[in-house]
């Protein structure tokens, strides 16, 4: 049992989250391999964010099992939290702190030492080309910069898995492209990427994707296989065919 878990970053079995009568997440099962870029697709209100919050240890499941980085989502949330990075839909760096101060804070919170933080942040600022912005308040940066910075902060402590909840919402195509370059770099360095998105071109960048409809995972495979299965050459079409049957209205 433990052996098979080791090369799986995430394992979900019949994972369910109910709010009263409403099943936000309905018996979903899937596995994510280490180092994989896993696209977690679904219409608004399909239950993606709820599922992701459970996997991040922010919310208790109602039933089913799941392990993240080998740790149980019921009992070992704090262990999970040490091993993951998370970038939520809402921009969650501190607007009234500077770029460097934000990096320093989140690095420190994850237990990095000050010399480590200093070294890595210098490197990060250089890679991002943010040398001129380090002393600026994060609130004054343009959105594209903010998102790239938020992602960099989420993987600053070198987690095993990073969860990205619609990381490119509202970002221009060029920045989105740069953002995905960063995701690829992270995956190349061994970080498993679990990402939700509404952009189907981004779905194509993923190794494998799952599509959620009304709380259930309706399909899970590589983009190429899915397109073959639905006899189409666009991911948009795959998504339409799957999501058309949805009964829930968007939130």
């Amino acid at each position: 049992m433990q052996k098979t878990m080791e090369n799986k970053a995430i394992i979900c079995r019949e994972l369910t989250k109910e709010f009263g009568d409403f099943k936000a997440v309905d018996r979903i099962s899937f596995e994510v391999n280490q180092g994989e870029i896993f696209g977690f697709l679904g219409a608004n209100g399909a239950g993606k964010t709820t599922a992701m919050r459970i996997l991040c240890g922010l919310s208790y499941p109602s039933s089913g099992e799941a392990t993240v980085a080998g740790f149980d989502v019921y009992k070992q949330q704090e262990q999970i939290k040490k091993n993951i990075g998370y970038m939520s839909q809402k921009f969650s760096l501190y607007d009234n702190l500077t770029t460097l101060e934000n990096i320093e804070f989140y690095g420190g919170v994850y237990g990095l030492s000050r010399p480590e933080i200093k070294e890595r942040s210098a490197q990060l600022v250089h890679t991002l080309g943010l040398e001129k912005e380090v002393k600026k308040l994060v609130g004054d940066l343009p959105l594209g910069w903010k998102q790239k910075l938020a992602f960099s902060v989420a993987i600053f402590h070198r987690p095993k898995i990073v969860f990205l909840d619609e990381p490119t919402g509202g970002v221009d195509p060029i920045t989105r492209r740069q953002f995905w370059d960063m995701i690829y770099e992270a995956a190349a360095s061994g970080i498993t990427v679990f990402v939700t998105t509404h952009y189907m071109d981004e779905a194509e960048y993923c190794h494998r994707i799952s599509v959620m409809v009304d709380g259930r995972v309706e399909a899970i495979d590589s983009p190429a296989n899915l397109k073959a299965r639905f006899h189409t050459d666009s991911m948009d079409e795959v998504f339409y065919q799957l999501a058309r049957g949805a009964k829930r209205t968007a939130d």
Partner: protein, 374 residues
Amino acid sequence: MKVLGFLLQKEFRQIFRDKTILAMMFAMPIIQLIIMPLAANFEVKNVNLVYVDHDHSSLSQKLVHKIASSGYFKLVATPSSYGSAMTFIEVGDADLVLEIPAGFEKNLVREGSQRINLSVDAINGTKSVIGGGYLQAVIKDFNRALDLNIKLATTASTNTAAAISVDTVNWYNPRAEYKYYMVPGILVLLLTLIGGFITALNIVREKEIGTIEQINVTPVQKWQFILGKLVPFWIVGMIVFTLGLIVMYLVYGIFPKGSIALLYLFAAVYLVALLGLGLLISTFADTQLQAMFVAFFFMMIFMLMCGFFTSIDSMPDWAKQLSGLTPVTHFITVVRLIVLKGSGFADVKTELGWLLGFALALNGLAIFNYRKTT
């Protein structure tokens, strides 16, 4: 401990970056402490009096002079009829009407007694009751002098009736000046506002922005997060308290009679209790508006029940008990005891017990109720 260091650093950076909050925390309490005691004064002065004299005798003139020279009353008018005097009360220009009937002097001298009429506008309760009381005291005094004059003249006997006269000494506040009573109280209330509101709003703000979720997804432990919020505002509170003591000394010349260390010990524990309340509120509220209203609700109860505006001894029993259940009551009592009376530790140790109890209970509940995973 290392993680706590990062949390504190971040909090202080944010506090010192937000100039409005900074001003609210430090400048406002000081300005309020300088202004409020001058205005918030329970002493009743300038009671507006209308005097209706139907007698026009030397005795009635003497009475009005005595009243006017007491310093508490302002003679608004001296109309000739009670009806026109009442119009002054109706439009709000007068608080009291004193009516002297015709034959006042004659009856006093002949019969040895005379009734006069006092009408009071009871809308402003404090002013009318206290003003009426002052007026009666003045008349009583006038009466006694009258007794001597008339009785000595009419009766041959020289042994005056035995009377108990009371001389009052105001201990701990010899001149019964309100500032000695008010200033320490106001200092406590300002500290209460800062402690109760700022932590609650600060954490709920992080909820609103969404940064708290980012914190909850990190391995930060509950106690680290809560201490990271408590310590900065505790320090801010202690600085405000110190500034308050300085203002109290420089502006009002009040220097604590008792031990300053003891005063700080109480302030320290009290702030922990209050910050705990703020934390507890923040665990329930989702928006700053909610937090504001809940905090305000408690603040109102605290202020009205703490014995600052009204004496706790004159409250009904249930209110007395409720008053004992608000931390402010205990702190205000102690601050007055230490500052004015110079009480030592032995005199106030039960109050310390109360405050420690509040601090433990409120923070315990807050920690219990704060969830990183929902």
